[in-house]
């Protein structure tokens, strides 16, 4: 009987210590919900726009991404031997095009800038996913902001017209800070290799595989 009482007290103490409060979401968390969808559910305008890519693509999968910023549609494919993902908003307008790469594919100055950033800011780091991001050109001409339309944007990508595309580098990495904290983050670097954005990646709970 005394044994059961001891266990009950221990369990109660545990539940008290670890109250069930939901973790407050940190600023800069990567919160997205991704669901597989059928091709028919994908915006028609987006399919038409991306048809030059889709014609040559293999193993294409279609997803709907639900995030705080709104709903997005994305397809992921093998295109010309590379893993590509193309993202659209719910109106079927092109948001960005990403291709999975390795760091050594990038220009020397970018590799150096990114490596330097991690070395300067972290005790240890491990790059887990590297993508090059092709964004639509936006520039001021005669004092007015000119933004490429979807057709120009996709054409520039197909022709690999790098002068008319804005290149960014998206990197997922595990890092160890100088304060001995560890975590997974997503980093976005601009075309000069300067950090533009950083957000934490919330990993799936591993209690079911650990204990």
């Amino acid at each position: 009987m005394a044994r059961f009482q001891l266990i009950s007290i221990l369990l109660f103490a545990f539940l008290l210590t670890f109250n069930f409060s939901v973790l407050a979401q940190n600023e800069g968390e990567k919160i997205e919900r991704e669901v597989s969808i059928k091709k028919e559910e994908f915006p028609e305008k987006a399919l038409k726009l991306a048809s030059p890519i889709l014609k040559k693509a293999k193993k294409t999968k279609y997803y709907k991404e639900i995030s705080e910023a709104g709903d997005y549609f994305e397809f992921k494919s093998h295109y010309k031997g590379e893993k590509i993902s193309v993202k659209f908003n719910d109106k079927g307008e092109l948001i960005d095009i990403e291709i999975i790469r390795v760091l050594s594919d990038f220009p020397d100055n970018i590799q150096k800038a990114i490596t330097q950033y991690f070395k300067e800011n972290y005790e240890k780091y491990r790059l887990t996913r590297i993508q090059i991001q092709y964004n639509r050109e936006q520039e001021y001409e005669d004092g007015e902001l000119e933004i490429d339309d979807d057709d120009e944007y996709i054409e520039e990508f197909l022709e690999m017209d790098l002068e008319d595309l804005i290149i960014k580098y998206e990197i997922e990495a595990e890092v160890k800070t100088k304060d001995n904290d560890t975590g997974f983050f997503e980093f976005l670097f601009n075309d000069k290799g300067e950090l533009e954005m950083k957000r934490i990646i919330i990993s799936r709970a591993d209690d079911n595989v650990l204990y």
Partner: protein, 231 residues
């Protein structure tokens, strides 16, 4: 890749059931329900406590009925995360045998664990090494365990609220003491659902084949259902 695992897993599961139903010696059927609570204190430390029970339905061999609660247990683990998704844990378990029988037993178990996790898109692979010291009311036993398991969401690369996931794994368990040794294989296949952030339910079937290095074979088919809370 994921469809390949689903197909392969389903085929393996069907083969296992066909084998079990047609086998001369019927497996012992058991069910283990449980609750698991995990608190992540910071980026390094996490604590887990779980409570489980085991209900036996039949015995191995003729398959005669043996309806009894043959154990209950409470476990606690402290886990420290190393860089590179590696984790070391130290655990303690108290187990009570045959709680409703006239003669009961107990076990104190100390566990040292090293695990490393790898991610391939939505698929997660976990490797787990364990050393256990089992101090039981009737003997002492050391166990060495190695488990590999994988789980992946059925929709997209991330496991989101309301989504199902599959889990499959295999574990080798080698036990020894001054009297003898024993090798056991545990093959598992299951399904889970993330109800909301930090709460999921998992149901799996485990096929345990024990005493592989002797002639005293034993086969257990165990159904496990666990509700996980993590925060």
């Amino acid at each position: 890749m994921i469809m390949y695992f689903i197909r392969t897993g389903s085929i393996l599961f069907l083969c296992l059931f066909t084998y079990v139903l047609s086998a001369q010696n019927k497996p012992s059927i058991r069910w283990e329900p449980g609750l698991s609570f995990t608190k992540k204190v910071n980026s390094r430390w996490a604590y887990n406590i779980s409570i489980m029970g085991r209900q036996r339905f039949t015995n191995y061999g003729e398959g005669e009925k043996n309806f009894k609660t043959d154990r209950w247990e409470i476990k606690g683990f402290g886990t420290y995360t190393l860089f590179g998704s590696k984790k070391i844990s130290l655990g303690y378990m108290y187990r009570g045998y045959d709680p409703f029988e006239p003669e009961t037993g107990y076990e104190h178990r100390i566990t040292q664990q090293f695990a490393f996790l790898a991610k391939y898109g939505g698929l997660r692979l976990a490797n787990k090494f364990r050393i256990e010291q089992r101090i039981r009311s009737f003997d002492y036993l050391t166990r060495l365990r190695y488990a590999v398991s994988t789980d992946f969401p059925l929709n997209g690369e991330s496991l989101d609220e309301g989504e199902f996931y599959l889990i499959a794994g295999n574990e080798l368990v080698y036990a020894f003491n001054a009297v003898g040794d024993e090798l056991e294989n545990r093959l598992s296949f299951g399904v889970g659902k993330l109800f909301k952030k930090g709460q999921k339910f998992q149901f799996q079937v485990v096929s345990r084949n024990s005493d592989l290095i002797s002639n005293a074979r034993d086969h257990i088919l165990q159904f496990e259902s666990v509700y996980y809370f993590s925060w």
